[in-house]
């Protein structure tokens, strides 16, 4: 089958087996190896076929096929759409799948190009109407347009939606706009140009300099300067070196890496090849968690296509540099997100962390120098190579450059992925992009950085986010999960939730983490069950600090953060649980009592009927009462009361 890299005629000789530095340029802008008007026209025709660039109007219906939209039924939408467009005889309109738009709650998402119309919550039954109204007559289907949660107004175009307006999508630019299963679309939108530039115009050490100039820091958690890491690996002595991509995205609440791998896998591959060239490695591994089957599938397709095009393999673009890439599927262990545990897992061992030093840069995979970065970090590399480190460094704050993708979830109106410049405030993310708190409730806290991060209260809403400001505030960037909580979230219960997670995932190698997380969890559980006693807060604090200082790896060292940060900002809530035996948020069932407001109760008897333990007594049309001795605090009565007469106190 003809593709972008098919030679135009016999005069054009470069191919994967006969590599040439101008390969990509020749096939997209050329031919440049020979002069022929016929060939130029033929090339242009091919380009037009896969044309996806916004400056060339091309009618396309894009159906999102990310994990979120697929589970909302986008496969059916795609199939129906393809059939309906064909049936309607609309020849100049292509129906294509794309990766994730990061706005999964609105899924399945359908975009109409070139206009850029955004339809959300599209079902297979809506397809006919879209074809009839939109594609045939150019009228939008009003009811499928997005409604702004704050103003209640409908947005016709993608670009008008507040969720996207404040974002600066660099890494996610192509996600949702190109078909991730077609390398041609990646190339035509500028893909692999950074690689060509690196291999043909830069020496390896110059690539490292460029990355250093950019100020890029690791996007997976710690925020270590990427260029420096590259330099250490490049300087390490060894006959064989490896480049590894950490795609073991395990933080609950974060899914940006999955989205990048599913929506734009080639950007990660390109970043890894550039890294391999810079540090002198010709083998790479992508370690993907087993829970992401679609990401693995898309990555497999992308690697095969890159190999077919000669972008992966021997003597890439006749530079003398060769690179091979393999996928390793994880087997379900959160600790494998820690770099040394991940390396052990690739080696087929139990995924337990190693003692550092030696660092992977010197002794990594199979004892060889190894460069480890995460998905989002690698996806930034082609952008840096294409536009230059200085350009990149002009974005963000003094010490944190570029953008960061956050996964905004929890009690916020718009949930999804938001790529924003470093230095933006939490308020802008939660209230402008996120559209504020659900059901008009009060903002209480935001958990940032997953189980390793911390909870920040309302006073910190105007904090400009970067690596260092977050650490000062007692949280951390982590992988970029942002879980928003309203007044109905209990902070002690939340700390207990995170500790349950880390305790479960503690690998057991070092004592502080193995024992410390268990004891902290025991205390937290006791407090939430109403058995808290004087001195618990102090014990928790002491334990948390010693685990933080003495645990072997990042998992253990950061596990106490949710406790320490909630103690720092919500100490009164802990005190209320322990001293007053009261849960202010009404979450901890042992510490709440359900009551009926006599002014609101109409005596409809509904609550008495639904109560599974018959704890509610009362005559029809008279105020009912709950017997606290019998009540199991299941909350069924409250959910069923039409008059909102039942409350927790």
């Amino acid at each position: 089958m003809e593709n972008l890299m098919t030679a135009c005629c016999s005069e054009c000789t470069h191919s994967p087996s006969q590599p040439c530095p101008d390969y990509i340029k020749c096939r997209t802008e050329g031919p440049i190896c020979h002069d022929s008007e016929a060939c130029r026209q033929k090339r242009q025709q091919l380009m037009d076929k896969v044309q996806v660039s916004p400056d060339k109007p091309h009618r396309r219906v894009l159906v999102c096929a990310g994990t979120g939209c697929i589970s909302s039924g986008s496969r059916d939408v795609y199939n129906r759409m393809e059939a309906a467009v064909k049936e309607a005889g609309i020849d100049d309109c292509e129906v294509s799948i794309t990766g994730c738009h990061g706005f999964c709650e609105q899924g399945p998402i359908v975009i109409i190009e070139p206009e850029g119309i955004f339809y959300g919550g599209v079902g297979a039954d809506d397809v006919e109407e879209i074809v009839e109204k939109q594609l045939k007559n150019g009228e939008p289907v009003e009811r499928l347009l997005y409604t702004e949660p704050t103003s209640g107004e409908k947005d016709k175009y993608y670009r008008d939606i507040m969720f996207y307006k404040k974002q600066e999508r660099m890494v996610l630019k192509n996600c949702g706009h190109i078909n991730p299963e077609k390398i041609d679309e990646y190339i035509i939108t500028g893909g692999y140009r950074g690689l060509v530039k690196a291999l043909t115009e830069y020496k390896p050490e110059e690539v490292i300099e460029e990355v250093k100039t950019s100020g890029l820091r690791g996007r997976g958690g710690g925020g270590f300067p990427t260029g420096l890491k590259w330099q250490f690996t490049a300087q390490a002595e060894g006959d064989q070196k490896y480049v590894v991509c950490n795609a073991d995205e395990g933080d609950p609440g974060a899914f940006m890496d999955r989205s990048i791998l599913e929506g734009n896998p080639h950007s990660v591959i390109e970043g890894m090849i550039i890294a391999g060239y810079a540090v002198g490695a010709n083998e790479g591994y992508v370690y993907v968690r087993a829970e992401y089957p679609l990401a693995i599938k898309r990555l497999e397709i992308a690697i095969a296509q890159a190999e077919q095009y000669g972008i992966l393999g021997d003597n890439i673009f006749d530079s003398g540099f060769s690179f091979k890439l393999r996928i390793k599927a994880g087997a379900g262990a959160f600790v494998c997100g820690e770099e040394t545990a991940l390396l052990n897992s690739i080696q087929g061992e139990r995924g337990m962390p190693r003692v550092r030093p030696p660092f992977p840069a010197n002794k990594g995979l199979w004892g060889k120098p190894t460069l480890l970065n995460n998905v989002e970090t690698y996806a930034n590399v082609p952008i840096i190579m294409e536009h230059g480190g200085r350009w990149y460094a002009s974005r963000g704050t003094e010490k944190s450059k570029g953008t960061k993708v956050f996964a905004l979830t929890g009690k916020v109106n718009n949930t999804g992925l938001a790529e924003v410049p470093m230095g933006i405030t939490l308020r802008e993310i939660i209230f402008d992009i996120g559209g504020g708190i659900k059901e008009g409730k009060q903002f209480k806290a935001v958990q940032i950085g997953g189980p390793s991060g911390g909870c920040l209260p309302a006073e910190k809403l105007d904090l400009p986010i970067d690596y260092d400001s977050l650490i000062d505030a007692g949280a951390m960037m982590g992988s970029g999960g942002l879980v928003v909580m309203d007044e109905t979230t209990c902070m002690v219960d939340l700390a207990r939730f995170f500790l349950t997670f880390t305790q479960n995932e503690s690998c057991g190698k070092c004592t502080p983490c193995r024992e410390g997380t268990k004891r902290m969890l025991e205390i937290l559980t006791r407090i939430t069950e109403g058995e808290g006693k004087e001195g618990d807060i102090e014990t928790l604090e002491r334990l948390a600090k010693s685990v933080k200082n003495t645990a072997l790896c990042g998992l253990g060292q950061t596990a106490p953060n949710p406790i320490l940060s909630t103690l720092r900002y919500f100490r009164d809530e802990y005190k209320a649980h322990i001293e007053k035996k009261w849960c202010p948020a009404g979450v901890c069932s042992a510490l709440t009592v359900y009551k009926i407001d006599p002014d609101k109760c109409k005596g409809c008897t509904k609550c008495a009927k639904v109560c599974p333990v018959s704890a509610i007594k009362g005559e029809p049309k008279e105020v009912h009462e709950i017997d606290p001795e019998v009540c199991t605090k299941c909350g069924t009565c409250m959910e069923n009361c039409k008059f909102e007469a039942i409350y927790k106190g």
């Binding site: 994990t67 979120g68 697929i70 589970s71 909302s72 706005f103 999964c104 709650e105 899924g107 995205e249 395990g250 933080d251 609950p252 609440g253 974060a254 899914f255 999955r258 087993a290 829970e291 992401y292 089957p293 390793k328 599927a329 994880g330 087997a331 379900g332 262990a333 959160f334 897992s345 690739i346 080696q347 087929g348 061992e349 139990r350 995924g351 337990m352 199979w366 996964a407 979830t409 929890g410 009690k411 949930t415 999804g416 958990q447 997953g450 999960g481 879980v483 909580m485 979230t489 939730f497 995170f498 997670f501 479960n504 995932e505 690998c507």
Partner: protein
């Protein structure tokens, strides 16, 4: 004793597949985890005999095979149900009522976390995050993701797999 005809045949089919797995990975570095994954795909779980054969074929101690198989959540040493239900109890799902959905599933199936129903129809598991937070609360049955769940929706969804 119940009729066992056909069973011997079935066993050899699986054994042949296992042989192919060994052939594919023999001599490769770090092969243990992919071999365990492929073996579990064949048998549905990791029977002791299979792990013993893996140890022999890869020339590593049985204790190491056992150690790796018990370390990772993905591997199972007991037979599993025809349908695997994974309920997300990650942060976003937790905040939006994932626990209630999980409780309803336990009640409907009469099993606890990690257990399999007696008729081998369903295995129920809780997971920390499946990365579909926008649809919270979420569960995955086999390959299908079910989002925006409420306890009321549970029985109807289960019926589709019964």
């Amino acid at each position: 004793m119940a009729c066992q005809c056909g069973q011997g045949q079935k066993q050899t089919d699986k054994d042949k597949k296992l042989q192919a797995v060994f052939a594919r990975y023999r001599g490769q570095k770090g092969a243990l985890i992919p071999v365990l994954q492929a073996s579990q795909d064949i048998y549905g779980y990791l029977p002791r005999e299979v792990m013993e054969r893996i140890a022999k074929e890869l020339r590593i101690p049985f204790s190491k095979v056992f150690g790796v198989a018990t370390f990772y959540a993905q591997f199972h040493l007991k037979p599993r149900g025809e349908n695997i239900i994974r309920v997300c109890l990650g942060t976003a799902c937790h905040v939006r009522g994932g626990a209630k959905v999980f409780a309803k599933l336990k009640e409907e199936l009469q099993i606890e976390d990690g257990e399999t129903t007696e008729d081998l129809k369903f295995t129920l598991e809780s997971v920390a995050c499946i990365g579909a937070c926008g649809l919270a609360p979420v569960m995955v049955i086999n390959e299908d993701t079910h989002g925006r769940l409420t306890p009321e929706k549970v029985p109807e969804i289960l019926d589709r797999y019964r």
